[in-house]
Amino acid sequence: MTSAVVTEGLTKRYGRRTALSDCTLDIPAGHVVGLVGPNGAGKSTLLQMICGLLQPTAGRLTVLGGDPISGSPRLGFMAQDTPVYAGLTIEDHLRFGAHLNPSWDDEMARRRIDDLGLDLRQKAGKLSGGQRAQLALTVAVAKRPDLLLLDEPVAALDPLARREFLQGLMEYVAESGTSVVMSSHLVADLERVCDYLIVLVNSRVRVTGEVEELLASHHRITGARIDPEKLGPGRQVIQARHTDVQSTLLVRSSAPIEDPAFTVDGIDLEDLVLAYMTEAAESGRDRVLEKQR
């Protein structure tokens, strides 16, 4: 497995505020990678460092085997809130894309705009949120990047625009095979398009892996009070909730759990992500308490 992005102890501070601290992760190439985490987890900061917009304060960062540079022909980036030049028309956006990028695929760009039913003469400032996102995506992909970074691309869109956007993205990925890293705090959207997942909370990777594998190896176990210690080797409890008579555990286990004492259910991606986030939040709270003592 080749890596699109490798970070080691990556840290970004703005004055006293730390946006990302000591982040170590490995993003594989050839996937549509979902980067999930709560607001403030450092997703935007991480993506902007990958595309060279921000300089890391400390740590190592390798992008497509080299140092990150802004203005690289191999990277496409669509920033949060999908900025476009409000005063320029769609045609102008395509033309400056063609002027600024040697690898520009003008035919594809125009075909995408045409498929979306957009008027080339329309000012970008007059577009709806969904259309603006589509224009920003068109500019990002017509550059024909090896790695496409999308920062919360659908966060501001209504459900219909969201679906259309993701559909357009999927079509492009299927046709080009580009590696994609897409950040979001909306798991349902990622479930539709991503085949690889990274959960980032407080700059820490909580879980990472291919979506199918993650879903296959996580189980919800319900039964009479279970002692988590006694589940056996190779089984990791992510989340445990107990009432007087019953326990609900979320367990990661590669081997299937076959024990008549419990009910074993599958789990969807949203529950899986939430479980890891909750666990992270709780351990974070413990740390704070310890400091106060």
Binding site: L53, G71, S72, L75, P83, H99, L100, A140, K143
Partner: protein, 338 residues
């Protein structure tokens, strides 16, 4: 990058060029009739009593449309650096940072350094071209009036020749720098206005007298070279303030003192029978009385022949400061902006 810069800047560029060309055309079109007025009053080619004829020419020109043109042209060149700083400089980077479009454009295959270089180079050239055209037209137009009036006074000097180009370049780069640091267009415009006005005032009042060597003249006070007298009737000390002319006409007088033969400043006391409204001999009698007091005058001034050396040096100072600001912008955009 050149295409995008042009596409983003073309409206402002066309407005700026249209205004500059129109203004220059007005001045060039009325130049002929101003020269005709100089001929008709006898100022052109005058050989004797030239000061008086020059005054007459200037007075007549002031009464006609030329007075308003002169004022407006000078005012325009005073305002131009701030206007360019406000509308071309401050929004250049600040608006991109404010709307987040820097994240769009810096992810095309173009480095930030090149992006900024094309913007600063292209719009900087437009700034120099417009300031140069306006200053050339107004300087050429006003030359007969300046010859009669003198062109060393700070107001006139600032709106003639080369210095408007330096001020405009500075205004543009100050606007870009402030916008880059503040990251918001409207506050950056306000700060740019203050910075440009302060820099111009500082240059006129503090820097300019030191850019070329001034001339110091010492000589006897005569009735002829007294320029003005001011005194107060009710002052028991009978203080009197005497202004003396520079020995060379149309100079910028930096300081003018009347000294006693011992070298200390002289402020009277005056003789009420010679000076003041009650004196029977009038102002001439007072001047003669002052001249008879065996006083020395000390005048420090910049003569009109210092005009071009001073113009070049002040232009140089502002171009160097502009270049430093540009260098800072390149450093800042690579290191600190994201």
């Amino acid at each position: 990058m050149i295409w995008l810069t042009w596409r983003q800047f073309r409206t402002q560029a066309l407005i700026g060029a249209a205004v500059a060309v129109a203004v220059a055309a007005v001045f060039l079109a009325t130049r002929g009739s101003l020269l005709a007025l100089a001929r008709d009053t006898g100022y052109t080619g005058c050989t004797a009593n030239c000061d008086q004829i020059a005054d007459q020419f200037v007075r007549q020109a002031q009464q006609q449309i030329y007075g308003r043109l002169l004022f407006n042209g000078t005012a325009l060149l005073f305002l131009l650096p701030a206007l360019i700083g406000l509308f071309w400089g401050a929004p250049l980077v600040a608006r991109e940072l404010e709307t987040g479009t820097h994240r769009l454009v810096w992810n095309q295959t173009v480095s930030r350094g090149r992006w900024l270089a094309v913007k600063l180079g292209g719009i900087g050239l437009a700034t120099v071209a417009i300031a140069g055209l306006l200053s050339w037209a107004i300087t050429a137009w006003a030359s007969p009036l300046d010859k009669a009036n003198g062109w060393m006074s700070p107001d006139t000097f600032t709106a003639r020749g080369l210095v408007p180009i330096g001020y405009a370049a500075f205004g543009f780069l100050a606007g870009v720098t402030v916008g880059m640091l503040m990251r918001r267009t409207v506050p950056a415009m306000a700060v740019t206005l203050v910075v440009v006005a302060a820099a111009m005032a500082l240059s006129m009042g503090v820097l300019r007298p030191h850019l070329v060597a001034s001339t110091t003249y010492t000589g006897a006070v005569t009735a002829d070279n007294i320029g003005g007298i001011s005194l107060s009737m009710s002052d028991p000390n009978r203080r009197i303030q005497v202004e003396v002319h520079a020995p060379v006409g149309k100079s910028w007088v930096l300081s003018s003192d009347v000294l006693t033969s011992a070298g200390t400043p002289w402020h009277g006391p005056y003789d009420p029978s010679k000076c003041g409204p009650q004196a029977p001999s009038g102002p001439q009698g007072c001047e003669q009385w002052i001249a008879s007091q065996n006083l020395q005058q000390k005048v420090i001034y910049l003569g009109p022949q210092k005009f071009w050396p001073l113009q070049w040096r002040e232009l140089g100072v502002f171009l160097v400061v502009s270049a430093l600001l540009a260098g800072f912008c390149f450093w800042w955009i690579r290191r600190r902006v994201a």
